[in-house]
């Protein structure tokens, strides 16, 4: 439980750093470390497949995409964020922590945990037999993403000829 709490704190800290850092590259790397923490939390919660996806896809692929975009847009002139937002963040954060703690504590007494039965079978059966329709939709989403990226980087006809 102590390790789990430390990992959760690490997740929060690195996510916070991702928005506090002025350098976008540092922010993207901080986000990757947060994803790594989340992946390890998934492993420890007994969800190894979700953990593998989180670490390989989110911490790996999405970070690469972010770094690529930052590199392609590097010459941008500095966008000045209001200093007040960075100064006010810790204040709002502590305020939210207090409110969140109070709300969760009050909900703890009132909202009963939903009844559930332990699952039978293995992950493959659940994924392929119970959620077949979702998987079809998932393939559709991947195709839509690929087509959207292709459409966005399409060149005009006259540019192709040159």
């Amino acid at each position: 439980m102590v390790i789990q709490t430390l990992l959760l704190c690490g997740l929060i800290i690195f996510s916070g750093l991702a928005i506090i850092f002025k350098d976008l590259l540092k922010a993207a790397l901080s986000l990757a470390v947060a994803s790594l923490c989340l992946g390890i939390i998934f492993f420890r919660l007994g969800a190894p497949y979700a953990g593998v996806f989180e670490i390989s896809v989110v911490a790996g692929l999405i970070t690469v995409l972010f770094i690529l975009t930052i590199a392609l847009t590097k010459k941008e002139r500095e966008i000045k964020e209001a200093n007040l937002t960075r100064i006010a963040f810790p204040l709002f954060f502590i305020l939210f922590l207090i409110i969140d703690g109070l709300v969760m504590k009050s909900l703890l007494q009132k909202v009963p945990a939903l009844p559930s039965e332990p699952e039978a079978g293995i992950f493959g059966e659940v994924l392929w037999k119970q959620r077949t329709f979702d998987l079809v939709a998932q393939i559709g989403v991947i195709l839509a993403g690929v087509l959207a990226v292709l459409a966005l980087f399409r060149k005009k006809e006259d540019e192709k000829d040159e």
Partner: protein, 102 residues
């Protein structure tokens, strides 16, 4: 069991707060998508933690995997749009996007 569930929901809510704060206050397009990523981390943590606590972790992690795939698709498309916006405006300032013609 219930205590543990609320413990994870607490952290999940904190992540969602960090993301929403960034979305409301920042102006850099890439930073806004970092905020969307942080929010999605909070949601997937809530999803898997709820599954683990309610002893239905198999279904929860298959849902989390679907969610991650959708997230990747969204980020790839969004970053492509951001690069196109940068090519056109030479800036990533989200306030410039409100100056639309027509």
């Amino acid at each position: 069991m219930s205590n543990l569930w609320f413990f994870y929901l607490f952290f999940s809510a904190v992540l969602i707060f960090i993301g929403i704060y960034c979305l409301l206050t920042m102006h850099n397009l890439i930073r806004l998508f970092i905020a969307v990523e942080i929010i999605s981390k909070g949601v997937s943590l809530a999803l898997v933690a709820t599954g683990a606590v309610k002893k239905s972790v198999l279904l929860a992690q298959s849902l989390a995997i679907t969610y991650i795939v959708v997230e990747v698709s969204l980020v790839a498309t969004a970053l492509a749009i951001i690069i196109n916006i940068y090519k056109k405006n030479k800036s990533l300032d989200v306030r410039l996007l409100s100056k639309l013609k027509g």
